[in-house]
Amino acid sequence: MSTPIRRQAPPTLARVLSTCTSSATRLPRPCVVAKWLHSRNLTTATPRAQETVPLRKHLKDEAKRKKAEAKINNAVAPKKHQLDPRLARWELTVGIEIHAELNTTSKLFSAAPTEGQEGMANSRVAVFDAALPGAQPHFQAATLLPAVRAAIALGCEVQRKSGWDRKHYFHWDQPNGYQITQYYHPFARNGSLALTAADGVPDEELQGAESVMVGIKQIQMEQDTAKTTNHGNSTYHVDLNRAGLPLIEVITLPQIHSPQTAAAVVRKVQAALRSVDACVTGMELGGLRADVNVSVRERGTTGTGTSYSGVSGLGQRTEIKNLSSFKAIEDAIVAERDRQISVLEAGGVIEGETRGWTLGATETTRLRRKEGEVDYRYMPDPDLPPLIIGTDLVEHLRLTLPELPAETIQRVHSAYGLSLKDAKTIVELDDGDRLEFMEHTVQLVQQSLPDETTDKPKIGKLAANWILHELGGLLTTSETSWEDLTLTPQDLADILLNLLQKQITARVGKQLLNTLHETPTTSEHRPSVEQLIEQGNLRLRPLSEQGYEELARAIMEGHPEMVEAVRVKGQRGKVMWFVGQMVRRGEEGTVEPERARVVVERLLAG
């Protein structure tokens, strides 16, 4: 057996290490640097008597110290979810209106493209979008695909006949002077959304139930406005590229009773719309915006008796417009709820008004009073025929609808044995490509295994761990994105196969992964996994029982204090330290951690 290389700390830390170690003084941890040096087999000065402190231990010590300090200073740590005592008396009700950009090639009522010539303003404008006199709208049928898919994904009934209405108001981002929307007859009605604790619904709202149902009143198609930017005092620059882009407005019923649920609803809607390719730009890019309606009422009463679309007994509501992130939704609802409770408790009355929210603010600001409310004078648009959607199209889209995220997560959880959290992560990464990679890998491994005894969940768990952690780590350290990944499912399947058949250890597997990642697929000399194992002599040559014992004894003799810690003080965790030392000292590809642990435990006990 080769003599192990002694790990030594660099000279820069020698001064630090030379000071006497005591539990009271804190020293910078040498272990990170030591690890780095070891991975490159470098040594400098001789090591000190102080052993390297594992990161976990260091962090735990830091946390203990902070807590002790806080106790001394009588500082009470704030509870994470300090429930406002006023909420015992007041109940919140929220309704949400989500505007999402549809994923189409052309705009809603003109053939102008939605993409292309990025960066050039006013380059995708048709005559109708610029509202030249006499220009007529022409409904683009292709916009129905994402719209109907969105309606089906959210469980709505698609109406065969729906209408187009004009909503009149003057603004420079609305060249026509009216927006074409579907006020009287929307194209989809009566959907619903189910949310569970995993989606972010707090326990107070679930109240023991599995899930909460939030009804969707309707979904309607409408036009987007132009983009304006402010330059100077009151000068605005207008870009009509976005004018006329198709949007859908999803209106929920006021059946949401906490801010976290509201954010969860918007998140879920965004995920569902993305999964069916209906709306692919998210909130961060401005493709999805939410307006929330907030009201409070005393528990057990009917508020001011207001009702909205069948839900009655609500208080007076106010609307908060243009929230553009999930955090903003939560914060704005909390601020508005607190403001309304304060006003009502002081004996005041809530006015129905429109309010705004800015990031980092503590209260919503009034945008428009009730008297200043605009009268939109809705009227059916005479230029457009009613929209008639064929049932054959709806059926076809329903049958070919892609899996919704909730279904995918359940499927992955049950078929591949992943935890719900892991399943959620892998489904959401890289637009579903990582899940595809995992499923392909698992299939390849299953095919190549000689017998069918290895069940899918076992392979699935292993593959998922490798894809999430090993591959993920590889991508981060080499700063590559998923699209540029050169590893194929076949490569990973080969590595996992060897691992399952105990031909290599996990460390060797990671090495192979790194090597394959560095060789591009286009090079002719790209070796297969088998070739790499042969060339590098990486196959597991299992150590004999005697070999394990010898190695274990050698380490135990070198560190009697650790032996004492386990034997006398009963710190069972230290056993793994021994295993780690054995793996490091042993030759590459010889020591198996499991067997080493068994041997070490036996020796330490005996």
Binding site: T105, N122, V238, G390, L393, D433, Q443
Partner: protein, 200 residues
């Protein structure tokens, strides 16, 4: 929504008014035929001059009667200003112009009330002239046939985890030949310029 709707709904029914040579009973049915046609016999020569001498209907019937106080509620100055703001029309410069505007608005409302006398129970409002027969509707239905081109522009991505993705190859259309900025009076670079200040 106050303003216009409130004013009209509170209106009293139109009064029976005699207007010169105009047939009184024609007032109740604004677009009714005059009685002259009934007296013409077959074969009799039509005296065109006599026929056209007397009007059977006058647009004056649509105006509020002069000298008689209108039964409609007054439109307040506040309502007038609200309506002018909604229509992006300039507010009145002085009290004289405002009273003139109110008068004009009152006579317009008189006309609208007249129209509203027509009984329309059970009649679906007409949006535009279109083929409303069943076959006409079926012809304008958007089904699989109409969407076949769009459906052909999508791909299915993945073998195990199938997802539909729209293909994004950008086609150059000829519509780009029109420059929207050519009609702009004020522009900066490729942007339209709007002065948003209130005192224009």
């Amino acid at each position: 929504m106050s303003g216009l709707r409130a004013v009209i709904s509170n209106a009293a029914p139109l009064q029976h008014v005699k207007l010169g040579s105009c047939r009184a009973n024609a007032l109740h049915r604004p677009f009714s035929r005059g009685s002259r046609r009934e007296t013409r016999e077959k074969g009799e020569e039509v005296d065109a001059a006599a026929l056209l001498a007397e009007p059977t209907w006058s647009v004056a019937s649509l105006l509020p009667p002069s000298g008689q106080t209108s039964q409609a509620p007054e439109i307040s100055s506040k309502q007038l200003h609200h309506l002018l703001r909604l229509s992006a029309l300039a507010p009145p410069k002085d009290a004289e112009e405002e009273s003139k505007m109110l008068e004009t608005l009152a006579s317009q409302l008189h006309f609208v009330r007249d129209i509203q006398q027509v009984d329309t129970t059970g009649v679906e409002p007409l949006q535009s002239l279109r083929d409303e027969t069943a076959s006409g509707e079926n012809a304008s239905e958007l089904g699989m046939a109409a969407l076949s081109v769009a459906l052909g522009k999508e791909d299915v991505r993945g073998k195990f985890h199938k997802r539909i993705r729209r293909r994004r190859d950008v086609e150059q259309t000829d519509e780009a030949a029109w420059d929207p900025l050519s009609t702009a009076s004020k522009k900066v670079g490729r942007f339209f310029v709007v002065e948003g200040g209130k005192n224009e």
